[in-house]
Point group: C2
Chain length 194, copies 2
DNA sequence: AAAAACTTTTGCCATTTGGCAAATAATGAA
DNA sequence: TTCATTATTTGCCAAATGGCAAAAGTTTTT
């Protein structure tokens, strides 16, 4: 089933980073493919070279990997109005060490490598826009991660609640715990203590 | 005193990310200014808009801030053959929340905002090169930070030793401890236990 | 509605880490 | 060298977090 999606969120997001005329907008819309994921579905798998990039219209994804002890770690969450991709693997065409899973039902707009190349070749500002988006996303990731090391688990949880008030209740405890770097039971106790 | 510096490291580093002819290389060398810092000197201060970017020819810098409890936190170290700048503040011209300090005596090659603009206007590949460098640096930061949350302090310390075998002995314990997210005494005990 | 599957909480205790202050050790200056 | 300064280690105990398994709570399926 293909739900009707306006792609307004995507276009508005892109327009934050550069100008686009109607013709360019239409082209972008044509290149984007709607992908609906159910909770628990995977968008990409570890060990494969990612060949597409997703913009999240609706829902939450998480990017995960297994650490040296074999525990599943949630590296970060990606929610509405953001792109999800393992930039490093995507650019360098190397197998990803991460996998991406839908935390909730999701509506994604997917761009294949070829579509992105077409857009890059056709829309003169495209590369600059993508560059700005990439840099902003990476800076945000660093700024989220850095303070986490310097604070205890309770503070990390409170910061998470503060920054993502609408995420905490949509995410299973175990995912959040591994993101915060603590065990599920510790998080449960921290939650009780508040 | 201005020491003679060949700038070879800088040029070789730039050439990893794009081609440059001799004329362009000479221009870059002319735009770079050598800055010698003594251990403990500051390269930039919190609260100010950064107006220069440093390439580290020799030495180690650290990027720091004060957390909510007023503790000084080492966000990360930057060593030879890397650029140091608060990208976010630099690009957006907003006051930095970080400051940059020399951990060891350093030889830096400094580019002012104006120099960078000149290079960008004169060298056609400049922006693309800077973009690749920026992206790579940010991806590396994320990849360093992410696993740290998922591991205990001893493992974090061992990984640090593994990744930066030549850094650990050049860095005061307190700096390293705050980078690893633990107290100095804990790090001392961890070190003893190995 | 009942059963099954999954998620969250809790108890118990071990281990890790923190906080503080004093003791050592190392470094740099006179 | 000697003193002063700074960095590191250590002791003592408290607090935070982990590991494991069982209990309680939710959601989904039949």
């Amino acid at each position: 089933m293909t739900t009707f999606v306006t792609m307004d969120k995507l276009i508005n997001y892109l327009l934050e980073f550069g100008q686009l005329n109607q013709q360019q907008i239409d082209l972008i819309k044509r290149k984007a493919q709607v992908l609906e994921l159910k909770k628990g579905d995977y968008f990409s798998e570890a060990g494969k070279i990612p060949k597409q990039v997703a913009f999240i219209e609706e829902g939450i994804l998480r990017v995960c990997y297994y650490n040296s002890e074999g525990d599943e770690i949630t590296k970060y969450f990606v929610d509405e109005n953001n792109f999800a991709v393992d930039i490093n693997s995507f650019n360098q065409k190397i197998p990803s060490s991460e996998y991406v899973q839908a935390v909730t039902d999701c509506t994604l707009l997917v761009f294949s490598t070829e579509s992105l190349n077409d857009l890059s070749a056709t829309i003169i500002q495209w590369d600059a826009i993508i560059y700005k988006i990439t840099e902003k996303a990476l800076v945000e990731k660093v700024n989220k991660l850095s303070p986490m090391l310097a604070e205890d688990a309770k503070t990390r949880y409170l910061s998470f609640l503060e920054k993502f008030p609408n995420l905490a209740n949509r995410i299973p405890l175990s995912y959040l715990a591994s993101y915060l770097g603590i065990t599920q039971s510790s998080l449960s106790r921290i939650r009780k203590s508040i």
